[in-house]
Symmetry: D2
Subunit: 289 residues, 4 copies
Amino acid sequence: MGAPMARNLVRAGYDLTAYNRTRKKAEELAQEGIRLASSAAEAAAGADAVFTMLSDDQALAAVVFGPEGIAAALKPGAIHVSSSTISTSFARKLAEEHGKRGQVLVSAPVFGRPEAAEQRKLIVIPAGDSHALEKLRPVWDAIGRRTIVIGSEPWQANAVKLCGNFMIASMLESFGESFAVMRKFGIDPHLFLETMNELFGSPVYRNYGTLVADQKFDPPGFALPLGLKDIRQVIDAAEEAGAPMPFAAIVRNHLVSALANGQEKLDWSSIALVSARAAGLPAQAKQPV
Amino acid sequence: MGAPMARNLVRAGYDLTAYNRTRKKAEELAQEGIRLASSAAEAAAGADAVFTMLSDDQALAAVVFGPEGIAAALKPGAIHVSSSTISTSFARKLAEEHGKRGQVLVSAPVFGRPEAAEQRKLIVIPAGDSHALEKLRPVWDAIGRRTIVIGSEPWQANAVKLCGNFMIASMLESFGESFAVMRKFGIDPHLFLETMNELFGSPVYRNYGTLVADQKFDPPGFALPLGLKDIRQVIDAAEEAGAPMPFAAIVRNHLVSALANGQEKLDWSSIALVSARAAGLPAQAKQPV
Amino acid sequence: MGAPMARNLVRAGYDLTAYNRTRKKAEELAQEGIRLASSAAEAAAGADAVFTMLSDDQALAAVVFGPEGIAAALKPGAIHVSSSTISTSFARKLAEEHGKRGQVLVSAPVFGRPEAAEQRKLIVIPAGDSHALEKLRPVWDAIGRRTIVIGSEPWQANAVKLCGNFMIASMLESFGESFAVMRKFGIDPHLFLETMNELFGSPVYRNYGTLVADQKFDPPGFALPLGLKDIRQVIDAAEEAGAPMPFAAIVRNHLVSALANGQEKLDWSSIALVSARAAGLPAQAKQPV
Amino acid sequence: MGAPMARNLVRAGYDLTAYNRTRKKAEELAQEGIRLASSAAEAAAGADAVFTMLSDDQALAAVVFGPEGIAAALKPGAIHVSSSTISTSFARKLAEEHGKRGQVLVSAPVFGRPEAAEQRKLIVIPAGDSHALEKLRPVWDAIGRRTIVIGSEPWQANAVKLCGNFMIASMLESFGESFAVMRKFGIDPHLFLETMNELFGSPVYRNYGTLVADQKFDPPGFALPLGLKDIRQVIDAAEEAGAPMPFAAIVRNHLVSALANGQEKLDWSSIALVSARAAGLPAQAKQPV
């Protein structure tokens, strides 16, 4: 995800230095006029803003607080724009630590697949200090199709991102339960999907619904273990907020069951196989062709 | 729902006789050139096809098998087009009973609100004997924007309709859980909704999401007790099929809780108040203005 | 269950006439000095009280309201003691119908297996008209070890019986979930069971827990489809009462999944296999030895 | 809990040095012939075994790894007996860290309230190195009525303890759901409880069931937030194991809802108030008298 976002920033005229732990990935960026740094610290040193896009709390913590990390290198007044899907509690800790150093945290999670990032079609949902957000406005325009400012606390954006992923996961589980009924009743799942496409008129329903109806879960667009991480985090965030989430609890259980039944390499839409097995249906995912 | 469908049939040139238990409702139809019958039997006698649109199994059973009912009046070979949202088990019984009399049952549930019916924008999902469906094709075109033939067994269409309503209910519950988290975190629910509108791009999300974000549940577009009936029926259908539906089970419980807390006059999207109360939020629905 | 109860009534000096649809079962009773009737009506005619112990609403309805049924034969003022595990709604209807005929319904469900019935160790939980209950007191003493009068409305006893079965089912599901964790962690389930036996000190935990730890579900003490019927009825009763039951909903789903995976001949404690499969464990029940 | 266990060890002839962060609690022990240390390190220095009984992972981590902690003070070959209810993941980390220092971890959680500890009636479930367990056998006999060795890995005992607490929590939730139905049906909850006491014959059902039937949740025997911590940990342990726990997920949600509705000072059996509120019942806990 980070690469297409970086390319769009360069195309918009920004001066960029990039760092990636995998040298080869970084080198692809070099061909687009992006300077390469040999560490996160080097990339952050002297910059007005540093952007991070990592897989989870641990990866981000390593890049920020680890040796050669961002926190020690970033100058006072500089902004750390965190676009990773992280927990609200870690976002709070991150804001606090940057604050101690006179640095500013902006959380700016995005919705959209890598293709959408390439086409500047991301939905960007930033939250944080209003002055920092104002400065970054042209940046959002350079990477996304729509910016929705969530609030003044960075972690609020992470809460919205996690709940958004929960909304998608709920849709997947709903499809899984319905498709199992359809198949047991001898009704072609594609007819049910076509009906839902007419009803909801949503590309997200169409895209994910097709994966589920076709049982085509490999290669994964979003790997199941990452989905489980996000749902665990939305439940933890809800507990902090003081709000029960029974749907999220079921999704978590079904993702745990999916992993226990060998689906760790499949897309998270393969949660539907859990409902299929529970209904006594053969639950083999189609092999990629 | 029946009235706008009837009007569109007349406009398409069909010769219609209508019956409604509430005389006044029937009289409005008379002004559009529809003949009025004084009983369901009178409306059905001699007709090639009779259409029913009633609130539940009991109401339909009364109109079909009660005194002055359709079953006794319909001629052999005639078609009963049932558009009510009924249980799969009752649909099966209905097909069997009509079959004994040489009559044909077609289930043709529809998706869409009364406004959509008026504008010929319904989604029609018929199932039944293929010859009967073929004959009725111009009828579907006269009332809806899209027809998806589900299968050769009438009850299969009812299964799809029930699961479709379950998909909507799941979306409502998902919104309810997410909005509770948002409110507890001090995030404006409308910002979350706006993000979901961008993400899903679905009018159904937009319309229902706005009701929930505004907590505007009165007057009801679809009353909560009717929603509970549908979810109970989808669970019963799934049990017949041999498929568990954990999401549907939660929705049922939350609708039961909603009724127990005085929401019987509200729209079924007020299921969100159950999540609000569980999170300790003030859960008053807005009064109509 | 009916047979041992009948034997204990005869031993206590009561004058009994029995009827069973299966002639052979009835004949065993004849050897103990019980008169046999050739129909339920014949058994009920002239009696002060008639006892029924049947598997479900439908079976009881047939015996009471069917041809040669009890309702038409029972004299005014006579008592129908219904010990079947039936729905609260059918119990209400039954009371009403008997009332119309000047007859009295007493619901007297029992807890205990056939062995307990044989040994006069049942728990009897009668509800109904207080005069009728008073008259029947010696009867309860003849069949059970303990009588707890629930209330003045017969259906209230059925509600208690259904919730009692729910309490057992919940325990079974809890064992199932815990045992799956134990097995995945390489901990002998029998050690967990032993710990629970020390902790709860309950024969019900010991007996059922041993079945689950041994995965010995065949032959069934209480067949899984009967358990599903009871849980469906407790959920329906709770909906009438206006109370959600999330645990019961999960139990229902797991029993549906159990049936869909071929467990219709097993004991209802085999609900634990659903948790085992969800955890990716081999879920074969032991064959009877 | 630690104090009565310590007293019983002294009475059994062991030579004990105690440390408690609250000086006053420690001083009570001094009157029974127990030496007092001014830090955990001082208590551990030179000892053959050190026992810890703390409220959670964080508290134990502070005492073991913090300044003046056990890990640095304990001699090689010495045993750390951890009786706290901690997470399986922290137990694994603890074992590893002690192992690096040539020390041995034994997990020995206990079941039983402080009164049971006083009367040497605890259930002790140790796990760890078999030689260490053998040496400690007289210790278990000095504090408990029954010892069940769980396995060779310390964390396995923590898994059993957590699942045992889950079994109790499930019973509480089951009571809560049933009592709500009873109250909505106008049935005295005490009659239901009496029936369950006859059926299960368990002191745990009797004691907790009475609290719930009386709605007497204050003062707490086991505070609700501690219960939530344990259920969160059982869910995390189950996820590590690869086993879904739908009942545990509901319990967690209901405890979160309880906290969100002001029950943080009540006993965890007040989870029943969540079912009461969901059923529209007045859900006030009785004040202590």
